[in-house]
């Protein structure tokens, strides 16, 4: 069995002494499966979709895909130096002086952060990726890094018709729970990432969902 996981730093295993303890690998042990963890710190949701489709198109068809969705505020771009995600308040600004185009984009995003637009885009991304995986007969589980409570409550009325199209049976914790909520009380690193114990909880949560 092969599991493909995509996500941001919380799926990557940021701040762990040994990244092999990140929840994707713990889940792999629990299911006796090989794991390809393509999570990247700072990843936005478009990058995750890119990884899943490109992996299925160019490498192989995994048996299970687990998507650890990130903040809807991250947007992916690319230039001659490669892919990059930006979001309002991005703290890597000091590294971007040689890339005026990136600075221009970032300044723009700071000025015009439109939460409702981005949240709706995220909901559509969920619907599209769910349809893709279902159509390809690939089992999948989705979850979010941070629960969706803020966006869900703030834009409930305007986004309900779209949110109602999501297959919530395959979205663990929908609509308000996520990794951050499930790891409350667990030790965290200085950067705020939950450590080994938290990853263990997430892996078991996903396992229970799959077996349930």
């Amino acid at each position: 069995m092969k599991i493909l996981t995509v996500g941001d730093s919380f799926t990557f295993g940021e701040e762990l002494e040994d990244r092999n303890n990140a929840w994707p690998f713990q889940l792999g042990e629990l299911l006796d499966a090989e794991v390809v963890n393509m999570a990247k710190p700072g990843s936005g949701n478009k990058r995750m979709i890119r990884y899943v489709i490109d992996y299925v198109a160019t490498v192989e068809r995994p048996d299970l895909v687990v998507v650890g969705w990130s903040s809807p505020g991250r947007m992916e771009f690319a230039d001659e130096d490669g892919f990059f995600d930006l979001w309002p308040g991005y703290s890597g600004r000091m590294f971007m002086n040689e890339q005026p185009w990136r600075v221009e984009l970032l300044n723009y995003m700071d000025r015009h952060h439109n939460e409702k637009y981005l949240y709706k885009q995220y909901l559509l991304d969920v619907i599209l990726l769910q349809s893709f995986l279902e159509q390809q007969n690939i089992q999948y589980v989705m979850l979010r890094t941070v629960g969706n409570e803020f966006y869900h409550n703030a834009y409930y009325k305007e986004t309900k018709p779209t949110a109602d199209l999501i297959n919530t049976k395959t979205y663990l914790g929908w609509p308000t729970q996520g990794m951050a909520e499930w790891t409350q009380g667990c030790a965290r690193g200085p950067g705020g990432h939950f450590l080994d114990d938290g990853h263990n909880r997430i892996a078991n949560k996903i396992l229970k969902h799959i077996q349930g």
């Binding site: 198109a57 221009e104 723009y108 279902e134």
Partner: protein, 219 residues
């Protein structure tokens, strides 16, 4: 109901009477079906994806026709979404949007083109899977783009269902088989803004009509 989604070519820009002579209206006439024309000027494929999702879940959608825009348009937003692309005319943009367009022109290179083209192909794959998952009848074609499939996209083209992509008959990565609105309308009169006029819309509608009948989607 037939839903048609696209950019200015679908909207019917520069036609004397777009309600009557844009290709969506003509296709509706062929099949004696009402048409919802969701073509809009200067939109990119991000907007086309959103409108297609709406159509995919519309109970009255008997057929969905998507005319993809150039993959090189990027959607931005402030109060409302809008698209920017490299080399675009900046006369009607505000200063901030014009600055973004200049930046996109500066960064425009092969790597950027490839990224945008692959991003669009993923949209095609996602939309095809969504429509198939919803059991919707659909077909699609490319309205206009400067190039055919570019090297480095073959893997994704292989995941595109070419049966429903007019102008991309298998083998999908054969550049010689690549056609779009521009090819079908070659030699037809155009408006000052470069949009094909009535004759071109008629030719494209004929082509769509033939394609749909071959698929047996509608009779």
């Amino acid at each position: 109901m037939i839903y048609c989604i696209g950019d200015s070519f679908t909207y019917g820009d520069e036609l004397a009477d777009r309600q009557k002579s844009a290709w969506p209206a003509l296709v509706g006439n062929y099949f004696n079906k009402p048409v919802t024309n969701l073509g809009r000027r200067a939109v990119g494929n991000t907007r086309i994806v959103k409108r297609t999702i709406d159509a995919a879940f519309a109970a009255d959608a008997e057929l969905i026709i998507i005319a993809w825009a150039s993959p090189y348009r990027t959607e931005f937003f402030n109060d409302i979404p809008y698209d920017i692309w490299a080399g675009m005319q900046t006369d009607y943009l505000n200063e901030e949007q014009a600055s973004l367009a200049r930046s996109l022109t500066l960064v425009n290179n092969k790597q950027f083109d490839l990224w945008q083209y692959r991003k669009w192909l993923r949209d095609v794959i996602l939309i095809q899977n969504l429509l198939q998952n919803q059991n919707k009848n659909y077909m699609m074609f490319m309205a206009y783009t400067p190039w055919g499939p570019i090297p480095g996209t073959e893997d994704l083209w292989d995941k595109v269902n070419s049966q429903y992509f007019m102008g991309h008959a298998a083998p999908s990565n054969n550049i010689d088989r690549y056609e779009n609105f521009g090819h079908w309308a070659a030699g037809c009169p155009k408006g000052p803004g470069g949009h094909p006029l009535e004759l071109a819309h008629q030719k494209v509608a004929n082509k769509i009509n033939e394609y749909i009948r071959n698929l047996s989607w509608l009779s």
